[in-house]
């Protein structure tokens, strides 16, 4: 069963530093081509660790239902 929430990074603000990827206990974050972070929503458990360390404060935890 998937978690209720999942992390989402705002690409327009992400600095691609990789702090979130280093913090993620599930290895669900990938820094895509050095441009920004991309979270694997299926693997993400919504723990929020990435959002807590993001220096640009660009990660939000979204409700899964909200994703259309």
């Amino acid at each position: 069963m998937l978690s209720k929430r999942y992390a989402w990074a705002d690409r327009s603000r992400c600095v691609a530093c990789g702090a979130c990827a280093n913090e993620c206990p599930r290895g669900a974050v990938e820094i895509l081509h050095g441009c920004f972070a991309r979270m694997d929503a299926e693997r993400c458990v919504g723990c929020g660790k990435c959002a807590a360390v993001c220096p640009a404060d660009c990660i939000t935890l979204l409700e899964r239902e909200a994703r259309v």
């Binding site: 705002d10 690409r11 327009s12 603000r13 600095v15 691609a16 530093c17 990789g18 702090a19 990827a21 280093n22 206990p25 290895g27 820094i31 895509l32 081509h33 050095g34 441009c35 920004f36 807590a52 360390v53 993001c54 220096p55 640009a56 404060d57 660009c58």
Partner: protein, 201 residues
């Protein structure tokens, strides 16, 4: 449990680098690795592997602010990660880097004499003569060391200040090398799939 790699200990290298500068300023040249490697990864590999895995400074800030709890862990003001501030700071930093190169050139050309001091925050001159024995290397080599170490130490201090005030790796949000390498990566991906801000999913 995440697997630990050899590069996870590069924060020790960051401490060693800054410590060496207190004994022999010529070690400052080693900092060029931190300038050239990230650019190499970005230009040839189209990635930020250096920022993501190899940056000793980023690891040190993460460790000091995270594990060792030296950070307030508050979100930084939004303007600090905004493009105008990031690119503005990059322009300022590159101008200061250019100025440092110019000073080195003046010394090399004999138009200025070697100053055995470092400049913190581009303004505060701190005598640093004990780290260099005159005549050991050409004057310009030593001048570059003093200038480059000034830049490195200033940026470390800025990083530490924002680490304490905000989140551990706040420095990364406006680090000139990070801005530059991300810019290069974006340019390389321009027009290709999977790296557009418009696909903000």
């Amino acid at each position: 449990m995440k697997k630990t790699h050899w590069y996870d200990y590069l924060w020790i290298w960051a401490i060693i680098y800054f410590a060496l500068g207190f004994f022999n300023i010529l070690f400052a040249w080693l900092g060029m690795i931190d300038f050239l490697l990230p650019l190499g990864f970005a230009v040839f590999g189209g990635n930020k592997y250096f920022c993501n895995h190899l940056c000793g400074r980023g690891q040190l800030l993460a460790r000091l602010g995270g594990k060792w709890k030296c950070s307030r862990n508050r979100p930084a003001p939004r303007w600090m990660a905004s493009p105008w501030f990031r690119y503005g700071f990059l322009a300022f930093f590159l101008t200061m880097f250019g100025n440092m190169i110019f000073q080195t050139w003046l010394v090399a050309a004999g138009a200025a004499s070697l100053r055995e001091a470092i400049k913190l925050f581009w303004t505060i001159r701190v005598p640093w003569g004990w780290t260099y024995t005159a005549g050991l290397v050409p004057d310009w080599v030593a001048q570059f060391s003093f200038g480059f170490y000034s830049l490195m130490l200033t940026s470390l201090l800025l990083g530490l200040i924002v680490m304490v005030l905000y989140r551990p790796r706040t420095w990364c949000s406006f680090c000139p090398m990070g801005t530059m390498t991300q810019g290069v990566c974006r340019l390389k991906r321009m027009g290709k799939d999977g790296a557009s801000e418009k696909e903000n999913v």
